[in-house]
Amino acid sequence: MKRSLVLVALLIAGCGVQPTEPIGGSRAKGAVIYLVQDGEVTPVLRPTRHESSQLSALELLAQGVPPGGLYTTEVPHDLGPKSVDDKTVAVTVDVTTLSTMAVAQIVCTAAAPGPVTLQGGGQTRGPVSCPD
């Protein structure tokens, strides 16, 4: 008798909508690059076909913006990003030629947890943090 009561209670409790654990789907797609608006770096979203890495985000950053838009960029087209890790960002271009704004754009887009050092053209710069 007791057992059937428990069964009935379970049945009734099993009705309705139950909460779940978090369920994971596909990898998130899209990239975040930092452009300049009113003299400040601002995050801007770019759609991507696949999950994007920081390196591909830097490549997107180097592609620049269409002229006449809301945003500008000071990152040169020939940035040539090579590798990104938590401490360094390696590019082809001579990092000493980059403007402060461009460095901020690159460091923010690289989205490292701490300050990063820029390497490129045999030069290094930094470590630099992304301004809040």
Partner: protein
């Protein structure tokens, strides 16, 4: 011990209950999951499309009438942060792994879906309620309960029908066996179908037929013996008259012997006559010769014919349609029995009830032992086992009872509250029906 019907009902109800619960439960569960998954998939798709269409991180682009949006930049909300507590910690952990994730939450009975994804420093969350889906699922649950309980009730009804169809032959057999035990040897049951119960019914019929034949054979034997004894007894009875006349003239021993022979011959004649009477009842040959009889007059005549002058009578004047010979036999047997086994005074009362005449014969003896009452009308039954020889045949009360039954009346034995046996005869006053 539960009855067969109860056990069948419980087994059926359990079976159908489990089946109904399984089917309704499975259908319900499946439908619920489909509804929820469809809603979730569509919400997640809308969410990812909205994020993909976004250029500037804007929480407003993720919200509409049914949903809210939250964007966290480096863990801090952009704009309005009221909804941030609605985002479960586990979901944020899952989102941090780089996948699009969602989680169903229930708060105060209200179900909702929270979705999230992370791009670089930005976390996007959107939540929406699932109340429409919840309503649909509630309806589904109601439907499942209705179907489940309905099928349980229906199956209970079917089980009841099935149990009846199985138990009817059993009940018939039970009633037939009881009738057989009560002495109706012509009892047979109807054999339906060819199942096991039909086999039992068949066996019952065969057994009853065999029993009936055996009893009939035994009765016929008694009848034949009685009949065969009649002729020599008639001759012997004729001789006893001579013996009675001659006895005083014989020597003492011879006279005693002659009297004894004469007395025993008369007893034997009465026994044989009673046996033949009983045989006629058993063979169904006994018939009523009904006549309109003044019952009081008939009872008085019976007493007078046997010279029972000390019997107290209280007779109402009644006319009834009875067989006068059989009435005489009954009254004579009852009064004779009372005189023999009870103590004086023996009284006979006659009274009428609508449709019935009632004759009561009472004595003032010790009454009947309650253990004896059920057997008092049995053949050759002797209440006093110490007395092996009785003057009667031992069939008198049995014959009286059979005669009462032949009239569709009853004869019952009992005790008066103040002691003394009372035999009550009830006969229909309008004759046998």
């Amino acid at each position: 011990m539960r009855s067969l019907r109860t056990r069948l009902l419980i087994a059926f109800a359990l079976l159908s209950g489990v089946t109904a619960a399984a089917v309704a439960g499975a259908m319900y569960g499946q439908a619920r999951n489909v509804i929820l998954e469809k809603a979730q998939d569509s919400a997640v798709r809308q969410f990812t499309e909205r994020v993909a269409a976004m250029t500037v991180p804007d929480p407003g682009a993720l919200s509409d009438r049914d949903s809210f949006g939250v964007i966290l930049y480096r863990g801090r909300p952009l704009g309005d942060d009221q909804r941030v507590p609605d985002i479960p910690r586990e979901l944020r952990d899952k989102v941090a792994t780089g996948v699009v994730a969602w989680q169903r939450v229930v708060h105060d009975g209200q179900a909702g879906l929270v979705m999230g994804m992370r791009l670089s420093d930005l976390e996007f969350y959107s939540g929406r309620h699932l109340s429409d889906e919840q309503d649909s699922i509630r309806e589904l649950a109601l439907l499942a309960w209705v179907i489940g309980i309905g099928s349980l009730v229906l199956s209970g009804f079917l089980a009841w029908l099935a149990a009846n169809s199985v138990l009817r032959p059993v009940r018939d057999l039970d009633a037939a066996a009881r009738r057989l035990g009560e002495g109706d040897l012509t009892t047979r049951v109807q054999v339906r179908g060819g199942d096991e119960l039909a086999g039992v019914a068949q066996t019952f019929n065969t057994t009853a037929a065999a029993l009936e034949k055996q009893v009939a054979d035994a009765r016929r034997f008694v009848a034949d013996v009685s009949h065969e004894l009649r002729t020599p007894l008639a001759a012997m009875t004729a001789v006893t008259d001579v013996l009675d006349e001659e006895a005083p003239h014989l020597t003492e021993d011879a006279g005693k012997a002659a009297t004894l022979v004469s007395q025993e011959t008369r007893n034997l004649t009465r026994l044989v006559n009673d046996l033949m009477e009983v045989s006629r009842f058993d063979s169904g040959a006994a018939t009523l010769a009904l006549d309109d009889v003044d019952v009081a007059e008939a009872v008085t005549a019976t007493l007078r014919a046997r010279r029972w002058t000390d019997v107290v009578t209280d007779l109402a004047s009644l006319t009834a349609r009875v067989d006068p010979r059989r009435l005489d036999v009954i009254v004579a047997n009852l009064v004779g029995n009372a005189l023999k086994h009870g103590a004086a005074p023996v009284s006979v009362t006659l009274r009428g009830e609508p449709g019935w005449v009632i004759i009561e014969v009472t004595d003032h003896g010790p009454g009947l032992d309650p253990q004896v009452l059920p057997q008092v009308f049995d053949r050759f039954y002797k209440a006093d086992t110490a007395r092996t020889r009785s003057e009667g045949s031992g069939l008198g009360l049995a014959i009286a009872w059979e005669n009462a039954r032949l009239h569709d009346g009853t004869l019952t034995a009992g005790n008066r509250p103040d002691g003394g046996a009372v035999f009550t005869l009830r006969l229909p006053s309008g004759g046998s029906r």
